[in-house]
Protein backbone atom coordinates (compact mmCIF):
# COMPACT_ATOMS: atom_id res chain seq x y z
CA UNK A 1 0.00 0.00 0.00
CA UNK A 2 1.66 3.19 -1.16
CA UNK A 3 1.04 6.41 0.70
CA UNK A 4 0.82 9.91 -0.73
CA UNK A 5 1.25 13.38 0.71
CA UNK A 6 -2.50 13.79 1.35
CA UNK A 7 -2.59 10.71 3.55
CA UNK A 8 0.50 11.90 5.40
CA UNK A 9 -1.20 15.27 5.96
CA UNK A 10 -4.30 13.54 7.31
CA UNK A 11 -2.15 11.46 9.66
CA UNK A 12 -0.36 14.58 10.85
CA UNK A 13 -3.71 16.14 11.59
CA UNK A 14 -4.77 13.12 13.66
CA UNK A 15 -1.45 13.19 15.51
CA UNK A 16 -1.71 16.94 16.12
CA UNK A 17 1.57 17.62 14.33
CA UNK A 18 2.33 20.33 11.81
CA UNK A 19 4.92 20.00 9.03
CA UNK A 20 6.23 22.58 6.57
CA UNK A 21 5.69 21.63 2.90
CA UNK A 22 9.37 20.69 2.61
CA UNK A 23 9.25 18.54 5.76
CA UNK A 24 6.06 16.91 4.50
CA UNK A 25 7.67 15.92 1.19
CA UNK A 26 10.79 14.50 2.88
CA UNK A 27 8.68 12.76 5.45
CA UNK A 28 6.45 11.14 2.84
CA UNK A 29 9.49 9.58 1.16
CA UNK A 30 10.77 8.04 4.42
CA UNK A 31 7.27 6.96 5.32
CA UNK A 32 6.92 5.17 2.01
CA UNK A 33 10.20 3.31 2.55
CA UNK A 34 9.15 2.23 6.01
CA UNK A 35 5.70 1.09 4.88
CA UNK A 36 7.29 -0.80 2.01
CA UNK A 37 9.41 -2.61 4.58
CA UNK A 38 6.27 -3.53 6.55
CA UNK A 39 4.68 -5.06 3.45
CA UNK A 40 6.70 -8.27 3.89
CA UNK A 41 4.37 -9.22 6.74
CA UNK A 42 1.54 -9.73 4.26
CA UNK A 43 3.34 -12.81 2.94
CA UNK A 44 3.12 -14.60 6.29
CA UNK A 45 0.03 -16.64 6.98
CA UNK A 46 -1.63 -15.68 10.26
CA UNK A 47 -4.89 -17.53 9.64
CA UNK A 48 -6.50 -18.42 12.97
CA UNK A 49 -3.76 -16.74 15.04
CA UNK A 50 -4.97 -14.66 17.98
CA UNK A 51 -3.10 -11.34 18.22
CA UNK A 52 -0.84 -10.93 21.27
CA UNK A 53 -0.78 -7.53 22.95
CA UNK A 54 0.31 -8.42 26.49
CA UNK A 55 3.21 -10.71 27.40
CA UNK A 56 1.73 -11.88 30.69
CA UNK A 57 -1.86 -12.34 29.59
CA UNK A 58 -1.83 -16.07 30.27
CA UNK A 59 -0.48 -15.53 33.75
CA UNK A 60 -2.79 -12.66 34.68
CA UNK A 61 -5.77 -12.54 32.33
CA UNK A 62 -7.71 -10.12 34.52
CA UNK A 63 -6.72 -6.59 35.37
CA UNK A 64 -5.88 -6.69 39.08
CA UNK A 65 -8.52 -4.91 41.16
CA UNK A 66 -8.44 -3.41 44.63
CA UNK A 67 -11.00 -2.31 47.17
CA UNK A 68 -12.57 1.05 46.36
CA UNK A 69 -10.93 2.89 49.26
CA UNK A 70 -9.71 6.46 49.06
CA UNK A 71 -5.89 6.57 49.21
CA UNK A 72 -3.52 9.55 49.37
CA UNK A 73 -2.94 11.35 46.07
CA UNK A 74 -0.89 14.25 44.75
CA UNK A 75 -3.16 17.09 45.73
CA UNK A 76 -3.83 20.29 43.77
CA UNK A 77 -0.56 22.16 44.37
CA UNK A 78 1.73 19.35 43.23
CA UNK A 79 -0.61 18.53 40.36
CA UNK A 80 -0.51 22.10 39.05
CA UNK A 81 3.17 22.74 39.72
CA UNK A 82 4.40 21.97 36.19
CA UNK A 83 1.49 23.48 34.30
CA UNK A 84 2.31 26.29 31.83
CA UNK A 85 -0.85 28.24 32.72
CA UNK A 86 -3.03 27.96 35.77
CA UNK A 87 -5.72 30.02 37.47
CA UNK A 88 -7.69 29.34 40.62
CA UNK A 89 -6.35 25.79 40.97
CA UNK A 90 -7.26 24.93 37.40
CA UNK A 91 -5.34 24.27 34.19
CA UNK A 92 -5.94 27.12 31.73
CA UNK A 93 -6.64 26.13 28.12
CA UNK A 94 -7.62 28.14 25.04
CA UNK A 95 -11.34 28.80 24.81
CA UNK A 96 -13.18 25.76 23.50
CA UNK A 97 -16.79 26.83 23.90
CA UNK A 98 -18.39 29.52 21.77
Amino acid sequence: MAVDVTQVEKTADLAKLRFTPGELQRFTVTFQEILAYFAQLQAVSTEGVEPMYHALLQESPQTPMREDEVKPSLGPDASLANAPRTAEQQFVVPRVVE
Binding site: M1, V3, Q7, V8, T11, A12, L14, A15, K16, L17, R18, F19, F27, T30, F31, E33, I34, L35, Y37, F38, Q40, L41, Q42, V44, T46, V49, E50, P51, M52, Y53, H54, A55, L56, E59, S60, T63, P64, R66, L74, A78, S79, A81, N82, A83, P84, R85, F91, V93, P94, R95, V96
Partner: protein
Protein backbone atom coordinates in the same frame (compact mmCIF):
# COMPACT_ATOMS: atom_id res chain seq x y z
CA UNK B 1 42.65 6.22 38.55
CA UNK B 2 41.28 6.43 42.08
CA UNK B 3 41.32 2.86 43.46
CA UNK B 4 37.90 3.35 45.06
CA UNK B 5 36.41 3.36 41.56
CA UNK B 6 37.72 -0.16 40.97
CA UNK B 7 35.84 -1.64 43.91
CA UNK B 8 32.79 -3.75 43.17
CA UNK B 9 29.44 -2.85 44.70
CA UNK B 10 29.88 -5.65 47.22
CA UNK B 11 33.35 -4.41 48.18
CA UNK B 12 32.07 -0.84 48.52
CA UNK B 13 29.22 -1.73 50.88
CA UNK B 14 31.50 -4.04 52.89
CA UNK B 15 33.98 -1.19 53.30
CA UNK B 16 31.20 1.19 54.31
CA UNK B 17 29.87 -1.29 56.85
CA UNK B 18 33.37 -1.83 58.29
CA UNK B 19 33.87 1.97 58.40
CA UNK B 20 36.92 1.65 56.16
CA UNK B 21 35.26 3.99 53.70
CA UNK B 22 32.72 6.71 54.25
CA UNK B 23 29.79 7.31 51.95
CA UNK B 24 31.19 10.79 51.31
CA UNK B 25 34.51 9.33 50.14
CA UNK B 26 32.73 7.02 47.71
CA UNK B 27 30.51 9.78 46.37
CA UNK B 28 33.42 12.23 46.09
CA UNK B 29 35.46 9.69 44.13
CA UNK B 30 32.68 9.30 41.58
CA UNK B 31 31.97 13.03 41.40
CA UNK B 32 35.67 13.69 40.75
CA UNK B 33 35.64 11.14 37.96
CA UNK B 34 32.54 12.71 36.42
CA UNK B 35 34.30 16.08 36.52
CA UNK B 36 37.35 14.55 34.85
CA UNK B 37 35.62 12.56 32.12
CA UNK B 38 32.16 13.89 31.42
CA UNK B 39 33.11 16.97 29.42
CA UNK B 40 34.19 14.44 26.77
CA UNK B 41 31.75 11.57 27.34
CA UNK B 42 28.66 13.70 28.09
CA UNK B 43 26.80 10.90 29.83
CA UNK B 44 24.93 13.21 32.20
CA UNK B 45 22.09 15.67 31.57
CA UNK B 46 21.59 16.61 35.22
CA UNK B 47 24.00 16.24 38.10
CA UNK B 48 24.11 18.32 41.29
CA UNK B 49 27.32 17.60 43.25
CA UNK B 50 26.46 19.89 46.18
CA UNK B 51 23.07 18.31 46.69
CA UNK B 52 24.54 14.85 46.37
CA UNK B 53 27.22 15.51 48.97
CA UNK B 54 24.52 16.80 51.32
CA UNK B 55 22.53 13.61 50.77
CA UNK B 56 25.68 11.57 51.44
CA UNK B 57 26.19 13.41 54.73
CA UNK B 58 22.58 12.86 55.77
CA UNK B 59 22.86 9.18 54.87
CA UNK B 60 26.00 8.81 56.98
CA UNK B 61 24.19 10.39 59.92
CA UNK B 62 21.24 8.02 59.51
CA UNK B 63 23.59 5.03 59.36
CA UNK B 64 25.45 6.21 62.47
CA UNK B 65 22.17 6.61 64.36
CA UNK B 66 21.02 3.15 63.33
CA UNK B 67 18.15 4.55 61.24
CA UNK B 68 19.47 3.15 57.97
CA UNK B 69 20.41 -0.51 57.83
CA UNK B 70 23.31 -1.28 55.51
CA UNK B 71 21.84 -3.08 52.54
CA UNK B 72 23.82 -4.33 49.51
CA UNK B 73 23.28 -0.91 47.92
CA UNK B 74 23.75 1.46 50.85
CA UNK B 75 26.02 4.36 49.99
CA UNK B 76 26.17 3.40 46.31
CA UNK B 77 25.61 6.21 43.78
CA UNK B 78 23.37 5.09 40.91
CA UNK B 79 23.00 6.96 37.62
CA UNK B 80 19.42 7.10 36.33
CA UNK B 81 18.30 7.36 32.71
CA UNK B 82 16.41 10.60 32.30
CA UNK B 83 13.08 8.93 31.48
CA UNK B 84 12.40 7.90 35.08
CA UNK B 85 10.67 10.23 37.53
CA UNK B 86 12.94 11.54 40.26
CA UNK B 87 11.08 13.82 42.64
CA UNK B 88 12.32 17.39 42.45
CA UNK B 89 15.06 16.50 39.94
CA UNK B 90 14.57 17.63 36.37
CA UNK B 91 13.39 14.77 34.15
CA UNK B 92 13.60 15.59 30.45
CA UNK B 93 13.42 12.22 28.63
CA UNK B 94 16.06 13.78 26.36
CA UNK B 95 13.37 16.08 24.96
CA UNK B 96 12.80 19.84 24.78
CA UNK B 97 9.13 19.28 25.50
CA UNK B 98 10.05 18.33 29.08
CA UNK B 99 13.05 20.61 29.44
CA UNK B 100 11.92 21.99 32.78
CA UNK B 101 9.73 19.18 34.06
CA UNK B 102 10.15 18.51 37.79
CA UNK B 103 8.33 15.33 38.74
CA UNK B 104 6.25 15.62 41.94
CA UNK B 105 6.87 11.96 42.67
CA UNK B 106 9.54 9.26 42.56
CA UNK B 107 9.26 6.27 40.26
CA UNK B 108 8.82 3.06 42.25
CA UNK B 109 12.36 1.94 41.37
CA UNK B 110 13.72 5.25 42.68
CA UNK B 111 11.75 4.98 45.93
CA UNK B 112 13.11 1.45 46.38
CA UNK B 113 16.70 2.58 45.80
CA UNK B 114 16.30 5.39 48.31
CA UNK B 115 14.77 3.05 50.92
CA UNK B 116 17.85 0.87 50.60
CA UNK B 117 20.21 3.80 51.11
CA UNK B 118 21.39 4.12 47.53
CA UNK B 119 22.02 7.62 46.21
CA UNK B 120 20.80 9.15 42.95
CA UNK B 121 24.05 10.22 41.25
CA UNK B 122 22.41 12.11 38.39
CA UNK B 123 20.21 11.77 35.30
CA UNK B 124 21.72 10.35 32.18
CA UNK B 125 21.33 11.24 28.55
CA UNK B 126 19.15 9.20 26.23
CA UNK B 127 17.53 9.24 22.81
CA UNK B 128 14.42 11.41 23.02
CA UNK B 129 11.61 9.49 24.74
CA UNK B 130 13.80 6.39 24.50
CA UNK B 131 13.39 6.30 20.71
CA UNK B 132 16.68 5.48 19.10
CA UNK B 133 19.73 3.22 19.02
CA UNK B 134 22.56 5.72 19.34
CA UNK B 135 21.61 8.54 21.78
CA UNK B 136 22.00 10.88 18.78
CA UNK B 137 18.28 11.62 19.04
CA UNK B 138 18.71 13.39 22.37
CA UNK B 139 17.49 16.97 21.92
CA UNK B 140 20.46 18.14 23.97
CA UNK B 141 23.69 16.56 22.71
CA UNK B 142 25.01 13.13 21.79
CA UNK B 143 26.84 10.99 24.31
CA UNK B 144 30.17 9.49 23.20
CA UNK B 145 31.41 5.94 23.39
CA UNK B 146 34.21 5.86 26.00
CA UNK B 147 36.19 3.35 23.87
CA UNK B 148 36.27 5.71 20.88
CA UNK B 149 34.71 9.11 21.32
CA UNK B 150 34.02 9.41 17.56
CA UNK B 151 31.58 6.54 17.97
CA UNK B 152 28.13 6.25 19.47
CA UNK B 153 27.55 4.59 22.84
CA UNK B 154 24.39 2.98 21.48
CA UNK B 155 20.89 3.83 22.63
CA UNK B 156 18.55 4.67 23.89
CA UNK B 157 20.22 4.24 27.33
CA UNK B 158 23.52 5.58 25.96
CA UNK B 159 24.26 7.90 28.87
CA UNK B 160 23.78 5.15 31.45
CA UNK B 161 25.94 2.67 29.52
CA UNK B 162 28.73 5.17 28.77
CA UNK B 163 28.68 6.47 32.34
CA UNK B 164 29.24 3.00 33.77
CA UNK B 165 31.85 2.12 31.14
CA UNK B 166 33.81 5.30 31.81
CA UNK B 167 33.82 4.65 35.59
CA UNK B 168 31.58 7.67 36.20
CA UNK B 169 29.06 5.48 38.03
CA UNK B 170 29.26 2.00 39.54
CA UNK B 171 25.66 1.27 38.59
CA UNK B 172 23.00 2.71 36.34
CA UNK B 173 19.37 2.15 35.49
CA UNK B 174 18.25 2.10 31.89
CA UNK B 175 15.07 1.11 30.10
CA UNK B 176 14.63 -1.37 27.26
CA UNK B 177 11.75 -1.37 24.79
CA UNK B 178 13.48 -2.88 21.74
CA UNK B 179 17.04 -3.28 23.01
CA UNK B 180 17.75 0.04 24.68
CA UNK B 181 19.64 -1.46 27.64
CA UNK B 182 21.32 -4.37 25.89
CA UNK B 183 22.55 -2.67 22.74
CA UNK B 184 24.30 0.25 24.51
CA UNK B 185 25.68 -2.26 27.04
CA UNK B 186 27.19 -4.18 24.11
CA UNK B 187 28.53 -1.01 22.45
CA UNK B 188 30.09 0.19 25.72
CA UNK B 189 31.48 -3.12 26.97
CA UNK B 190 29.32 -3.37 30.08
CA UNK B 191 26.61 -5.67 31.42
CA UNK B 192 22.99 -4.75 30.72
CA UNK B 193 19.91 -6.77 31.61
CA UNK B 194 16.32 -6.44 30.43
CA UNK B 195 14.06 -8.23 32.94
CA UNK B 196 10.96 -10.24 32.05
CA UNK B 197 8.05 -7.96 31.18
CA UNK B 198 6.33 -7.29 34.49
CA UNK B 199 9.37 -8.14 36.66
CA UNK B 200 10.12 -4.51 37.51
CA UNK B 201 7.50 -1.84 38.09
CA UNK B 202 7.01 0.70 35.31
CA UNK B 203 5.39 3.24 37.66
CA UNK B 204 7.31 6.46 37.09
CA UNK B 205 8.96 5.24 33.87
CA UNK B 206 7.83 7.64 31.19
CA UNK B 207 5.85 5.37 28.89
CA UNK B 208 7.00 4.70 25.33
CA UNK B 209 5.69 1.20 24.44
CA UNK B 210 3.69 0.06 27.41
CA UNK B 211 3.60 -3.63 26.44
CA UNK B 212 7.36 -3.66 25.76
CA UNK B 213 9.07 -1.30 28.26
CA UNK B 214 11.13 -2.59 31.17
CA UNK B 215 13.60 -0.90 33.52
CA UNK B 216 16.84 -2.78 34.11
CA UNK B 217 20.38 -2.55 35.50
CA UNK B 218 23.66 -1.62 33.81
CA UNK B 219 26.92 -2.45 35.59
CA UNK B 220 30.54 -3.47 34.97
CA UNK B 221 30.01 -7.01 36.29
CA UNK B 222 27.18 -9.53 36.31
CA UNK B 223 27.18 -9.64 40.11
CA UNK B 224 26.78 -5.87 40.38
CA UNK B 225 23.88 -6.03 37.91
CA UNK B 226 22.26 -8.79 40.00
CA UNK B 227 22.49 -6.64 43.14
CA UNK B 228 20.76 -3.75 41.40
CA UNK B 229 18.06 -5.99 39.92
CA UNK B 230 17.36 -7.42 43.37
CA UNK B 231 16.88 -3.94 44.79
CA UNK B 232 14.26 -2.89 42.25
CA UNK B 233 12.35 -6.04 41.23
CA UNK B 234 9.07 -7.19 42.71
CA UNK B 235 5.29 -6.60 42.85
CA UNK B 236 3.92 -3.06 42.83
CA UNK B 237 0.25 -2.17 43.21
CA UNK B 238 0.96 1.11 41.42
CA UNK B 239 1.65 -0.80 38.16
CA UNK B 240 -1.14 -3.13 37.11
CA UNK B 241 1.16 -4.83 34.59
CA UNK B 242 3.72 -5.66 37.26
CA UNK B 243 3.70 -9.34 38.19
CA UNK B 244 2.69 -10.43 41.67
CA UNK B 245 5.39 -13.11 41.66
CA UNK B 246 8.12 -12.48 44.20
CA UNK B 247 11.63 -12.08 42.76
CA UNK B 248 14.26 -14.79 43.15
CA UNK B 249 17.41 -14.33 45.22
CA UNK B 250 19.43 -13.24 42.19
CA UNK B 251 22.84 -12.52 43.72
CA UNK B 252 22.75 -15.59 45.98
CA UNK B 253 22.40 -17.89 42.98
CA UNK B 254 25.52 -16.60 41.28
CA UNK B 255 28.43 -19.02 41.37
CA UNK B 256 26.35 -22.16 41.11
CA UNK B 257 27.54 -24.83 38.68
CA UNK B 258 26.07 -24.41 35.20
CA UNK B 259 27.05 -27.76 33.69
CA UNK B 260 24.20 -29.63 32.05
CA UNK B 261 22.43 -26.51 30.84
CA UNK B 262 21.30 -26.74 27.21
CA UNK B 263 22.14 -23.69 25.11
CA UNK B 264 20.31 -23.00 21.86
CA UNK B 265 21.96 -21.02 19.08
CA UNK B 266 19.54 -19.66 16.45
CA UNK B 267 20.92 -20.53 13.00
CA UNK B 268 19.24 -17.57 11.38
CA UNK B 269 21.17 -15.16 13.59
CA UNK B 270 24.56 -15.90 11.99
CA UNK B 271 23.92 -14.83 8.42
CA UNK B 272 25.42 -12.29 6.10
CA UNK B 273 24.36 -9.29 8.14
CA UNK B 274 26.55 -10.18 11.14
CA UNK B 275 30.01 -8.61 11.36
CA UNK B 276 32.55 -11.51 11.28
CA UNK B 277 34.54 -9.90 14.09
CA UNK B 278 31.49 -10.22 16.32
CA UNK B 279 30.77 -13.77 15.14
CA UNK B 280 34.30 -14.90 16.04
CA UNK B 281 33.94 -13.69 19.62
CA UNK B 282 30.49 -15.26 20.03
CA UNK B 283 31.69 -18.62 18.68
CA UNK B 284 34.63 -18.53 21.06
CA UNK B 285 32.31 -17.81 23.98
CA UNK B 286 30.15 -20.77 22.92
CA UNK B 287 33.14 -23.13 23.06
CA UNK B 288 33.85 -21.70 26.50
CA UNK B 289 30.33 -22.55 27.58
CA UNK B 290 30.88 -26.08 26.31
CA UNK B 291 34.06 -26.30 28.37
CA UNK B 292 31.95 -25.26 31.38
CA UNK B 293 29.72 -28.27 30.80
CA UNK B 294 26.88 -26.81 28.74
CA UNK B 295 25.57 -28.46 25.60
CA UNK B 296 25.17 -26.36 22.49
CA UNK B 297 22.59 -27.08 19.82
CA UNK B 298 21.19 -25.24 16.83
CA UNK B 299 17.63 -24.03 17.07
CA UNK B 300 15.26 -22.17 14.80
CA UNK B 301 13.36 -19.01 15.56
CA UNK B 302 11.75 -18.86 12.13
CA UNK B 303 9.82 -15.61 12.53
CA UNK B 304 12.87 -13.55 13.57
CA UNK B 305 13.17 -12.12 10.07
CA UNK B 306 9.83 -10.36 10.62
CA UNK B 307 10.65 -9.08 14.09
CA UNK B 308 11.82 -5.60 13.10
CA UNK B 309 8.75 -4.95 10.95
CA UNK B 310 6.53 -6.24 13.75
CA UNK B 311 8.29 -4.15 16.39
CA UNK B 312 8.27 -0.97 14.33
CA UNK B 313 4.51 -1.27 13.96
CA UNK B 314 3.70 -2.15 17.59
CA UNK B 315 6.07 0.22 19.38
CA UNK B 316 5.22 3.38 17.42
CA UNK B 317 1.50 2.53 17.73
CA UNK B 318 1.80 2.39 21.49
CA UNK B 319 4.01 5.47 21.47
CA UNK B 320 1.49 7.49 19.47
CA UNK B 321 -1.00 6.84 22.24
CA UNK B 322 1.43 7.41 25.10
CA UNK B 323 2.79 10.66 23.69
CA UNK B 324 -0.67 12.16 23.14
CA UNK B 325 -0.40 13.55 26.67
CA UNK B 326 2.24 16.09 25.61
CA UNK B 327 -0.20 18.83 24.67
CA UNK B 328 1.02 21.86 26.58
CA UNK B 329 -1.77 21.72 29.16
CA UNK B 330 -0.72 19.92 32.34
CA UNK B 331 3.06 19.93 32.08
CA UNK B 332 5.91 20.57 29.71
CA UNK B 333 6.45 23.03 26.90
CA UNK B 334 3.57 25.10 25.56
CA UNK B 335 3.86 27.11 22.37
CA UNK B 336 3.72 30.82 23.17
CA UNK B 337 0.99 33.19 22.02
CA UNK B 338 -2.77 33.39 22.17
CA UNK B 339 -3.54 30.40 19.98
CA UNK B 340 -6.73 28.45 19.45
CA UNK B 341 -6.73 24.95 20.91
CA UNK B 342 -5.95 23.07 17.71
CA UNK B 343 -3.09 25.40 16.79
CA UNK B 344 -1.75 25.34 20.34
CA UNK B 345 -1.62 21.51 20.28
CA UNK B 346 0.06 21.37 16.88
CA UNK B 347 2.58 24.12 17.58
CA UNK B 348 3.45 22.80 21.03
CA UNK B 349 4.04 19.30 19.79
CA UNK B 350 5.77 20.21 16.53
CA UNK B 351 8.13 22.62 18.27
CA UNK B 352 8.70 20.42 21.31
CA UNK B 353 9.31 17.03 19.70
CA UNK B 354 12.35 16.05 17.63
CA UNK B 355 12.26 14.44 14.19
CA UNK B 356 12.48 10.77 15.19
CA UNK B 357 9.77 11.14 17.81
CA UNK B 358 7.49 12.80 15.25
CA UNK B 359 8.27 10.02 12.76
CA UNK B 360 7.28 7.33 15.22
CA UNK B 361 4.14 9.13 16.31
CA UNK B 362 3.20 9.40 12.62
CA UNK B 363 3.89 5.73 11.90
CA UNK B 364 1.94 4.76 15.01
CA UNK B 365 -1.00 6.98 14.19
CA UNK B 366 -1.13 5.66 10.63
CA UNK B 367 -1.03 1.96 11.54
CA UNK B 368 -3.81 2.44 14.06
CA UNK B 369 -6.04 4.53 11.85
CA UNK B 370 -9.25 3.35 10.31
CA UNK B 371 -8.65 1.45 7.09
CA UNK B 372 -5.08 0.52 7.99
CA UNK B 373 -5.50 -1.03 11.43
CA UNK B 374 -6.10 -4.58 10.18
CA UNK B 375 -3.27 -4.63 7.66
CA UNK B 376 -0.73 -3.27 10.12
CA UNK B 377 -1.46 -3.22 13.85
CA UNK B 378 -3.66 -6.31 13.97
CA UNK B 379 -1.27 -8.15 11.65
CA UNK B 380 1.68 -7.18 13.83
CA UNK B 381 -0.19 -8.46 16.90
CA UNK B 382 -0.54 -11.83 15.20
CA UNK B 383 3.13 -11.84 14.16
CA UNK B 384 3.99 -11.15 17.78
CA UNK B 385 2.03 -14.25 18.83
CA UNK B 386 3.92 -16.35 16.24
CA UNK B 387 7.22 -15.06 17.55
CA UNK B 388 6.29 -15.81 21.15
CA UNK B 389 5.42 -19.33 19.95
CA UNK B 390 8.84 -19.70 18.34
CA UNK B 391 10.38 -19.03 21.75
CA UNK B 392 7.99 -21.38 23.54
CA UNK B 393 8.91 -24.17 21.16
CA UNK B 394 12.63 -23.43 21.45
CA UNK B 395 12.55 -23.42 25.24
CA UNK B 396 11.09 -26.90 25.22
CA UNK B 397 14.39 -28.09 23.78
CA UNK B 398 16.89 -25.72 25.41
CA UNK B 399 17.24 -23.81 28.67
CA UNK B 400 18.78 -20.66 27.26
CA UNK B 401 19.41 -19.01 23.91
CA UNK B 402 22.78 -17.42 23.12
CA UNK B 403 23.81 -15.17 20.26
CA UNK B 404 25.14 -11.73 19.42
CA UNK B 405 23.53 -8.61 20.91
CA UNK B 406 24.15 -6.47 17.81
CA UNK B 407 24.89 -7.17 14.14
CA UNK B 408 27.55 -4.47 13.98
CA UNK B 409 30.26 -2.86 16.07
CA UNK B 410 29.67 0.64 17.49
CA UNK B 411 29.30 2.94 14.49
CA UNK B 412 30.51 6.50 14.08
CA UNK B 413 28.38 9.49 15.04
CA UNK B 414 26.35 10.58 12.03
CA UNK B 415 26.86 7.29 10.18
CA UNK B 416 23.24 6.10 10.39
CA UNK B 417 21.31 9.29 11.03
CA UNK B 418 20.34 9.85 7.37
CA UNK B 419 18.51 6.54 6.99
CA UNK B 420 16.05 5.71 9.78
CA UNK B 421 15.42 2.22 8.44
CA UNK B 422 19.15 1.41 8.64
CA UNK B 423 19.12 2.49 12.26
CA UNK B 424 16.05 0.31 12.95
CA UNK B 425 17.79 -2.76 11.51
CA UNK B 426 20.47 -2.60 14.21
CA UNK B 427 17.84 -3.87 16.66
CA UNK B 428 17.41 -7.21 14.88
CA UNK B 429 18.64 -9.40 17.77
CA UNK B 430 17.10 -7.47 20.62
CA UNK B 431 13.48 -6.65 19.69
CA UNK B 432 12.37 -10.29 19.83
CA UNK B 433 12.82 -10.44 23.62
CA UNK B 434 10.61 -7.40 24.13
CA UNK B 435 7.95 -8.74 21.79
CA UNK B 436 7.89 -12.09 23.60
CA UNK B 437 8.31 -10.51 27.06
CA UNK B 438 11.28 -12.71 27.97
CA UNK B 439 14.35 -11.59 29.95
CA UNK B 440 17.74 -11.10 28.26
CA UNK B 441 21.22 -9.97 29.23
CA UNK B 442 24.15 -8.59 27.26
CA UNK B 443 27.65 -9.02 28.59
CA UNK B 444 31.06 -8.24 27.09
CA UNK B 445 32.70 -11.25 25.41
CA UNK B 446 35.77 -9.57 24.02
CA UNK B 447 37.34 -6.61 22.27
CA UNK B 448 38.25 -6.47 18.60
CA UNK B 449 41.67 -5.47 17.29
CA UNK B 450 40.30 -1.97 16.94
CA UNK B 451 39.64 -2.10 20.72
CA UNK B 452 35.88 -2.04 20.29
CA UNK B 453 33.72 -4.10 22.63
CA UNK B 454 31.62 -7.07 21.51
CA UNK B 455 28.45 -8.01 23.38
CA UNK B 456 27.02 -11.50 23.79
CA UNK B 457 23.33 -11.92 24.51
CA UNK B 458 21.67 -14.62 26.58
CA UNK B 459 17.89 -15.03 26.55
CA UNK B 460 15.80 -17.09 28.98
CA UNK B 461 12.16 -18.06 29.48
CA UNK B 462 9.89 -15.74 31.47
CA UNK B 463 11.04 -15.04 35.03
CA UNK B 464 14.30 -16.99 34.68
CA UNK B 465 16.63 -14.04 35.23
CA UNK B 466 18.55 -16.25 37.68
CA UNK B 467 19.74 -18.52 34.85
CA UNK B 468 20.85 -15.47 32.86
CA UNK B 469 22.89 -14.24 35.81
CA UNK B 470 24.36 -17.65 36.64
CA UNK B 471 25.52 -18.35 33.12
CA UNK B 472 26.55 -14.75 32.56
CA UNK B 473 28.69 -14.77 35.67
CA UNK B 474 30.28 -18.13 34.89
CA UNK B 475 31.14 -16.98 31.38
CA UNK B 476 32.44 -13.63 32.62
CA UNK B 477 34.72 -15.39 35.09
CA UNK B 478 35.99 -17.94 32.58
CA UNK B 479 36.54 -15.48 29.73
CA UNK B 480 38.23 -13.02 32.11
CA UNK B 481 38.19 -10.35 29.41
CA UNK B 482 40.96 -7.88 29.84
CA UNK B 483 39.51 -4.48 29.13
CA UNK B 484 41.95 -2.33 27.17
CA UNK B 485 43.03 0.93 28.74
CA UNK B 486 40.27 3.48 28.32
CA UNK B 487 41.33 6.37 26.09
CA UNK B 488 40.34 8.75 28.93
Amino acid sequence: MNEILRLSVRQLTQAIRARELSVTEVVTSYLDRVKEADSQIRAFLSIDPESLLQEAGKLEARIAEGEQAITPLTGIPVAIKDNMATKGIRTTCGSRILENYLPPFDATVIARLKEKGALILGKTNCDEFAMGSSTENSAYFPTRNPWDTERVPGGSSGGSAAGVAAWEAPLALGSDTGGSIRQPAAFCGVVGLKPTYGRVSRYGLVAFGSSLDQIGPLARTVEDAALLLEAIAGPDPADSTCSERLPDAYSASIGKDISGLRIGVPTGWFGAGLDPRIERKIRFALTTLEALGCTIEEIQLPHTEYAIATYYIVAPAEASSNLARYDGVKFGYRAPGELDLETMYKETRSQGFGEEVKRRIMIGTYVLSSGYYDAYYLKAGKMRALLANDYRAAFEKVDLIVGPTTPSLPFKLGEKTEDPLQMYLSDVYTVTANLAGIPAISLPCGFTEERLPVGLQIQAPHFQETKLLQVGHALEKELAIEHPQLPL
